[in-house]
């Protein structure tokens, strides 16, 4: 009891801060009517979702994928093609896209999970580039010209809004929150423990009777599903997709950089990384334009090297130095 009170005394400012931040996030669209800040917030949550999804396979299970754009693209293309060809509602398209991505993850994961470390990473690059090239040359899905999402009257059911970005804000907030809840659950339950055991030492994990392939596959499937959901959201938000916007290697790289900066294998790392990188990227893009476009990535690349060399736990490892273990539900890398 005494210990609990003592812990509460230490932790309450952090809890209060978190609650305040939560309320701010919820009412944020009421505080501003300018579209740009809301756009930046939407991207922050989108990338938090994507990099949390990446984090499941790359961070918790330790299988570095550099091809996640393929799942994002499959999600975006599935819902858009279904809407164009068969007038299927984008919410259903979103689920269909998720299922397609899970199928793709099985096709790719099954042979590739036999590979270790670097070989797996390069294999995912290869798979991502194959999908990208096929879509560029596949006329039925628009080829290099891309596809426009069919215009619908704005409503939640149609998943389209033209006069305001605010509904998109709440939709992506909920989607990202779901991915965090799922990760939180996995982290504290058997699959999460198994994934981390596989990452630490796959042979030791196997000798304890853990079916490594099964749990890597599980992580990959959940990861692919959430990434595809992000893809459909992107398609409905921008209303136009092409291979260069939803399937490029650069997207795969960005998603994994967000997680690495924030802290791989931690629950809050993806949000932290996204909250730092995305505004940096958007502001340099808007205010510096052209040549300045790459500046944030220069800083970012340097940060990733420094983190890899000196602090492989990412920024979350720094945060953890200032708090008691276990508070934010995160685990050491």
């Amino acid at each position: 009891m005494v210990a609990r009170i003592a812990r509460w005394r230490v932790a309450w400012p952090v809890w209060a801060g978190a609650a305040l931040l939560g309320i701010l996030v919820l009412v944020f669209p009421l505080l501003t009517t300018r579209p740009f800040p809301i756009h930046v917030m939407i991207l922050i949550f989108l990338y938090a979702l994507l990099s949390q999804a990446w984090n499941l396979i790359g961070g918790y299970a330790g299988q570095v994928s550099l091809g996640h754009a393929m799942f994002f693209g499959i999600g975006a293309y599935t819902s858009t093609v279904l809407a164009i060809r068969w007038h299927i509602n984008p919410w259903l398209g979103m689920i269909a896209g998720g299922i397609m991505a899970v199928l793709l993850s099985i096709i790719i994961g099954y042979p590739c999970f036999r590979l270790k470390g670097h070989y797996f990473a390069i294999a995912t690059i290869a798979a991502g580039e194959i999908i990208y090239t096929l879509f560029v040359n596949w006329e039925w899905v628009g080829g290099a010209r891309g596809l426009f999402v069919p215009m619908q009257p704005e409503s939640l059911v149609n998943f389209q809004f033209h006069s305001t970005k605010v509904p998109y804000y709440y939709i992506i907030l909920v989607l990202a929150a779901i991915s965090f809840v799922v990760t939180y659950w996995l982290e504290r339950n058997r699959p999460g423990y198994y994934m981390r055991a596989i990452k630490e030492d796959i042979d030791a994990a196997r000798s304890l009777g853990i079916d490594a392939t099964k749990y890597k596959m599980l992580a990959m499937m959940i990861s692919a599903f959430f990434t595809a959901i992000g893809g459909t959201f992107y398609a409905q938000y921008v209303l136009y997709i092409d291979p260069d916007s939803v399937l490029p290697l650069a997207l795969s790289i960005r998603v994994c950089l967000v997680a690495v900066l924030g802290g791989v294998g931690t629950l809050w790392g993806p949000l932290l990384g996204s909250a730092i990188l995305i505004p940096l990227a958007e502001f340099t893009r808007v205010y510096l334009g052209g040549g300045g476009r790459a500046l944030h990535l220069v800083v970012y690349g340097a940060l990733v090297v420094i983190i890899a060399v000196f602090q492989p736990g990412g920024l979350m490892a720094l945060v953890k130095r200032f708090k008691r273990p276990g508070f934010l539900g995160s685990s050491p890398v």
Binding site: G58, G62, V64, L66, P111, C112, R114, L115, K116, G117, H118, Y119, A121, I122, A123, I125, A126, A127, E129, I130, T133, L134, V136, N137, L249, I253, L257, V260, V264, G290, G291, G292, R293, A294, L295, L297, V298, Y300, G301, A302, L303, V304, V305, I306, I307, A308, V309, F310, P312, V333
Partner: protein
């Protein structure tokens, strides 16, 4: 020769010529991998730096790439050594994730630095010393490509000779095989690792200078070559120089033949499929040691 036959031979020659360059780029990659056991994700960016070095030496000091080739090679050797000393030497025993992200971050850093400093414009060397083409038996051979192929062949041979025939090269091989045992024989593994990074980077220094004679120079130029080089390294067997040499030629031919029989747009799909097939079905590649 019939027109179809001529075209086919022409395609084969082009594939062979570019194959030698792939070989050289892959030799650098496979050397680093074999000795230090780390994949250099920034290898393509090293190539890009070499091409820009050749471009700026030409643009600012009117040094033709053929003349500046030794300078580019030295510069890249230096880059390789610095990369090892500053970054790689610190993560040799780090977890796999840290190893991947260190060179991966370096890739992002160098590529975007090039965007930032030199813009995304496509540049080229306008009037290189080596230009034009020759006609042999009705086939046209671009002289810069021929020079690049011969230069790459010679450099690959030199690296192979160095690694297998000199005392330092044998020490390098010993370190690759068993670091601890080599250290017991008095071989300084840190020096060997530095050397592997230096030579690995210097190989793309040569390749970059040779390519700058006829290839566009832009921040992403490394991508296409180095993605191919990963496939070459895997096909040849990770760590094997002769393997990389043979696989480079095979991949060069596969690319042009794939472009010829299927469609130029799909040639890279075949190359990536080869990677996936090789690592899944025959992970040791053609001549891998394990």
């Amino acid at each position: 020769m019939s027109p179809g036959m001529t075209l086919f031979s022409q395609v084969l020659i082009n594939g062979l010529l570019i194959g030698f360059v792939f070989s050289l780029i892959a030799v650098g990659l496979t050397l680093i991998f074999g000795v230090v056991d780390i994949v250099n994700f920034a290898h393509g960016e090293f190539l890009m730096l070499a091409m820009y070095a050749a471009f700026w030496l030409y643009h600012l000091f009117s040094l033709d790439p053929t003349v500046s080739l030794p300078l580019c090679t030295l510069f890249l050797f230096f880059i390789g050594v610095v990369t090892y000393k500053l970054i790689i030497s610190r993560i040799l025993d780090a977890p796999m994730l840290a190893q991947i992200f260190s060179t991966f971050g370096l890739m992002v850093f160098l590529r975007n630095l090039a965007h930032f400093l030199w813009s995304s414009d496509y540049r080229m060397i306008k009037e290189p010393l080596i230009k034009g083409r020759i006609e042999v038996f009705g086939l046209f051979i671009s002289i810069p490509q021929l020079v690049a192929a011969v230069g790459a062949l010679i450099t690959t041979g030199l690296v192979y000779w160095f690694v297998t025939r000199t005392e330092t090269g044998r020490a390098l091989q010993a370190t690759a095989e068993d670091k601890e045992a080599a250290a017991l024989m008095g071989i300084n593994s840190d020096r060997m690792y530095t050397l592997a990074w230096g030579i690995g980077a210097a190989s793309v220094g040569v390749a970059g200078a040779l390519l700058s004679n006829f290839y566009f120079i832009f921040p992403e130029v490394g991508d296409i070559f180095v993605l191919t080089a990963y496939v070459v390294v895997a096909l040849g067997g990770f760590g094997s120089i002769p393997g990389a040499f043979i696989a480079g030629i095979i991949i060069g031919l596969v690319q042009v033949l794939g472009g010829y029989f299927l469609s130029p747009a799909l040639k890279m799909v075949i190359v990536y499929l080869i990677y996936l097939l090789v690592v899944v079905l025959r992970p040791q590649g053609l001549m891998g040691r394990w």
